[in-house]
């Protein structure tokens, strides 16, 4: 009984804060838009009893989902988001892996400081940090001023309001999510494994590919999902740093909700986004489980 009470807490939490809101969104996605408060119909009228429920049920349809397939804006936005999320995950991995590797190679007394430096940006609001990139990347920004003063370029580079700025923003923001799991995988790596590999005829580089890489695989997978999943639905970064041509599903979602006030279509967009993300989320969970088993 006590055990049941204990495990019921997380289940209740999931039910109240995930499943119920999701069912509400799902319901809205099956509704029609209307100028009212809330701005959709049908509303469930329990005062009418069973007949009311029947009427409510009959009014729900898949119209919005059909609409998503008819207007090419949506699938283009999904594809573009997917592309941006995958590219920025790879970029984050390329930047993050050497950082994590360097941290594990650093002298012991340096590690807490380095760890601190990785986590430190979280102490400032995410919004402010992304916003400050505007002043770095703009045409008159710090970066262009620096490069022009150094005489490396004569005309300012146009970075802000392009996809490049979005990539920079995502890599910067999600870097710690990539670094930390890789670091924890590399830190567990026994130094003598590399010596054994060298002893058996590997050069340092082959030892890295044959031993270090495979043994940090779980960290790479975990880090990649931690970056990919939020990057897929990212709104703030493309909104602040991206330009009009930057098409991401998060932005579409925001516009449907707040500019068009079309809650049903917006909900349909959100439901599809979740369905797309379920695959990587499940894969991520599997990886975590594997890691826990390997750790035993």
């Amino acid at each position: 009984m006590k055990r049941f009470a204990l495990i019921s807490i997380p289940y209740f939490w999931l039910l109240a804060l995930f499943l119920v809101p999701f069912l509400i969104v799902l319901k809205i996605s099956l509704s029609d838009t209307e100028l009212s408060i809330p701005p959709y119909t049908p509303q469930l009228d329990l005062a009418q009893g069973w007949a009311g429920v029947k009427e409510w049920w009959a009014a729900l349809d898949m119209e919005n989902f059909v609409w998503l397939t008819e207007d090419d804006l949506y699938w283009k936005a999904y594809l573009s988001s997917l592309k941006i999320a995958i590219t920025s995950t790879i970029l984050t991995l390329i930047v993050g892996y050497p950082i994590a590797y360097g941290m594990t190679r650093a002298p012991d007394e340096w590690r807490p400081t380095l760890m601190m430096l990785v986590i430190l940006p979280f102490w400032t609001s995410f919004l402010i940090r992304v916003y400050s990139w505007k002043s770095i990347l703009s045409n008159e920004g710090l970066l262009n001023q620096l490069l022009m003063n150094l005489g490396l370029i004569s005309d300012p580079l146009v970075i802000l309001n392009t996809n490049t700025a979005v990539y920079i923003g995502i890599v910067y923001t999600y870097l710690p999510f990539m670094v930390l799991p890789i670091y924890s995988a590399l830190e567990r790596l026994d130094e003598s494994l590399l010596e054994a590999a060298e002893d058996l005829g590997c050069s340092r580089i082959t030892a890295f590919w044959l031993v270090t890489m495979p043994l940090s695989k779980q960290g790479i997978i975990a880090g990649s999902f931690l970056v990919f999943i939020p990057a897929m639905g990212e709104y703030v970064i493309p909104a602040l740093l991206g330009g009009s041509q930057t098409l991401m599903i998060g932005k579409v979602l925001f516009e449907e909700f707040f500019a068009n006030r079309d809650w049903p279509v917006a909900s349909a967009v959100a439901v599809v986004l979740l369905l797309i993300l379920i695959i990587p989320i499940v894969l991520f969970q599997k990886n975590e489980e594997k890691q826990r088993e390997a750790g035993k």
Binding site: S192, E198, L200, L215
Partner: protein, 381 residues
């Protein structure tokens, strides 16, 4: 060892043969870490097919010696040669030396067979040959059934054997073993010691083993180098190290020993006499070099070489009088601790050939200890 004895039974002792070529030579090797001198100007030769043990307490430099052989540490001064070739510029992956790590260092993401094949594949050996060699190695360590298992799915003793098979797979000229049996329990350790010796004989590889366990070194090694504070104190066969230690440190480090301090009264003819306590007769032991009279010296004698009797023995060179302070019953034998009138404690061991009830010696009894003039050695350092 006389030439006649060598001719009768060919004994493996290349270190006594001036024509033998050493496989490993340390020449005035020094290793420093900053101010700390880990290895202090050491010169030593190791011969092919030897099972050479580096023995010493932790921090004595034995692991550093081995890691320099493997190429994992650089030499600060001096040279190390393997097969006559200077090793200073040769990285670990280019040496015909393999190492069995203390932690075994098995690759956790690879199966037992893949671990063993790892080094062979690096040599670009054809696939069928790799498979044949892996199979051969698995048979050598009797692990054929476990080829597909991952290291975490087998026991500690099996992991140890996989590590051994992996390090032998490339048929190295020299195999380094870093505390190879340290992680095993006592029973398994003893079995494995004999297995190691068998495998060493079968493969004919030169083994260099690092250990802090003197029993292990005594069991497996053809020669032992006893180390302390970055220096090799003595290099000899296990029997010589035990019977004729060159210094008090070695005598005390290996096995149980009585150390009796006194002044040398007479020396020469391979023996020395020390006077050690008033009222006790002088003691004679082996001393190959002449020691000046009056020098402070220590007679080291093993407890099992000391006889104990209730009456004064006749015709024995060395006799000590005292009374029984303590008796430790060990089953097959008993250790008696005798206190002399001057308060020194001396141990004697006797086999328990009679039942305990019929044993003659008991606590506080007056007894005489005796041993021959070749039982102990007189040491000046």
């Amino acid at each position: 060892m006389s030439d006649a004895a060598t001719a009768l039974a060919p004994v493996f002792a290349p270190w006594n043969d001036p024509a033998a070529e050493p496989i490993i030579q340390f020449k005035n090797v020094t290793k420093r870490y900053g101010d700390f001198t880990a290895i202090d100007n050491q010169t030593i030769d190791i011969y092919p097919q030897e099972f050479f043990a580096l023995l010493g307490p932790s921090g004595c430099g034995k692991t550093t010696m081995m890691r320099m052989l493997g190429g994992f540490e650089t030499v600060t001064e001096g040279t190390i040669t393997i097969d006559g070739q200077d090793m200073s510029a040769v990285p670990p992956n280019k040496r015909a030396v393999n190492m069995m790590f203390q932690s075994y260092a098995l690759f956790p993401h690879l199966s037992v067979a893949e671990n063993i094949a790892f080094g062979l594949k690096r040599d670009k050996m054809p696939k069928d040959q790799v498979e044949a060699r892996v199979e051969e190695m698995l048979s050598l360590v009797q692990l054929n059934k476990f080829a597909a298992r991952k290291p975490h799915q087998i026991s500690g003793g099996q992991r140890q054997r996989v590590a051994l098979a992996r390090s032998l797979a490339k048929a190295p000229k020299l195999l380094l073993l870093d505390e190879p049996l340290g992680a095993l329990d006592k029973k398994l350790r003893q079995d494995t010691q004999f297995e190691l010796m068998d495998i060493q004989e079968q493969t004919g590889t030169t083994f260099v083993i690092v250990t802090h366990d003197q029993e292990e070194a005594m069991t497996v090694a053809s020669r032992i180098a006893v180390m302390d504070h970055g220096k090799i104190i003595q290099v000899d066969t296990p029997a010589k190290i035990y019977e004729e230690p060159g210094s008090v440190y070695v005598a005390d480090f290996i096995g149980d020993v009585n150390l009796i301090e006194g002044n040398v009264t007479k020396s020469g003819d391979d023996h020395a006499t020390i006077s050690w306590a008033s009222g006790q007769q002088d003691l004679i032991g082996i001393a190959h070099d002449e020691i000046p009279t009056g020098t402070r010296a220590t007679l080291a004698v093993r407890p099992e070489k000391v006889n104990i009797s209730t009456e004064r023995p006749e015709g024995m060179t060395n006799v000590i009088h005292g009374k029984v302070h303590d008796i430790a019953y060990l089953g097959n034998m008993s250790t008696y601790v005798i206190e002399t009138p001057s308060g020194q404690l001396i141990k004697a061991q006797a086999a328990n050939t009679r039942r305990i009830a019929r044993r003659a010696i008991t606590w506080e009894q007056e007894v005489w200890l005796s041993f021959t003039d070749t039982a102990g050695v007189v040491l000046t350092s």
